[in-house]
Amino acid sequence: MKYIEEFQDPRLAQRLLDEIHSTVTRPWAMMEVCGGQTHSIIRHGIDQLLPDEVELIHGPGCPVCVTPLEVIDKALEIASRPDVVFCSFGDMLRVPGTGRDLFRVKSEGGDVRVVYSPLDALRIAQQNPDRQVVFFGIGFETTAPPNAMTVYQARRLGIRNFSLLVSHVRVPPAIEAIMRSPVCRVQAFLAAGHVCSVMGTAEYPELAERFGVPIVVTGFEPLDILEGVRRTVRQLERGEHAVDNAYPRAVRPEGNPAAKAMLEDVFEVTDRAWRGIGVIPDSGWRLAERYREFDAEHRFAVDSITTEEPAACRSGEVLQGLIKPHECEAFGTLCTPRNPLGATMVSNEGACAAYYLYRRLGGPTAPKETSTVG
């Protein structure tokens, strides 16, 4: 779906595009934070419909991609144990750890199961009291409340053979880290709609003010993204930097209070490493002290595993918007979704995989015009 006629409402899409084209007078670089948005932008060719002046930088918003190699290695170690049932979302199966992935662990005899919801993993624990059931708890503020509720339920129901391998990440500290980078080119943010469905918008005015950037809460359907870009360009051209909600049908300013309260109870804020980027202060959640017995890292004593990331993969630069995926020398040659070098090539929401799947770029030098086939 690369042509405007294929949008759900082509006339509305054209109107939004016309307005963006007529508003923009000079180059602007804005970052979409959510991997779902990146996926949607590349899949629908939205970046190619926008005026040349508007550059979309694909941010670190794919939780699968930013889960640190070290945590993947811990997951692989735990999943290999004969007494463990290791439960995960499907997209983690092919994420490369050091030398292998969960898919391989399963083929080597590990009991790795894919679940739709963390509550499914809890049910498996109830049904298998003699096995240790571990759930791989990754994700942003959207996924953290379901995992928090699951741990809360495990404690309430006294299910002691359940634990969570936690690698949750938070968006606002990442925005701060991106703006503090000396090579930062980002002038505005499209904030992730579903993160804000949970968290609301209260965390953003301070960031918008401090760094002088517009932050526009944006959904991830094609028309939502065009509307987010339209409002962002309007602010940039007027020299404004406010928080604006372009996704009100799913985002209320207060977010979801019950989910936020559960997050506060079960988790505590911690420094967290992001794959390809490094440690960002206060950018993660771990289980709070009173839930520590449900922490898989403690239960299986894998705290000592530390891993360095391979140098060939430039996903860190991709995640910070310093290069586009096809500018990486390994893109499409050494690195494909079948044989990913870095996590951004694994997940459909990773920028490298999105470019590979929806835009057949030959390599680093492929011109923009040849990119809309397939």
Binding site: G90, V114, S117, P118, P146, H194, G374
Partner: protein
């Protein structure tokens, strides 16, 4: 995984002291936890992420989104067989 899909509540029950619902996602039925939206009623729509209703949605936009996801094969990506997807070549996924 990041996807949050709108669904319609078909019925609600209490299980082990937890408020659970059967939710219809364009024909695919799933068990969904309502603890974060306890006042959601049968017949209403919500955005659901990994088995949890996170925010209410009006019927019209919910249906529009579901239609779009269906057309793009995204419901299959979300609810299909993840082992098959992980084993398949990316070309075959398209």
């Amino acid at each position: 995984m990041c996807l949050a899909v709108p669904g319609k509540v078909l019925d609600i029950e209490d299980r082990d002291g937890t408020r659970m619902a059967t939710v219809d996602f364009g024909g695919v039925l799933k068990e969904v936890c309502l603890e974060y939206l306890p006042d959601l009623r049968v017949g209403e729509y919500a955005i659901v992420h990994v088995g949890f209703a996170l925010q209410r949605l009006d019927e019209e936009s919910a249906k529009r989104t579901l239609q779009l996801f269906e057309n793009l094969g995204m419901l299959e990506e979300e609810f299909g067989d993840p082992w098959a997807a992980a084993a398949a070549t990316p070309e075959a996924q398209r």
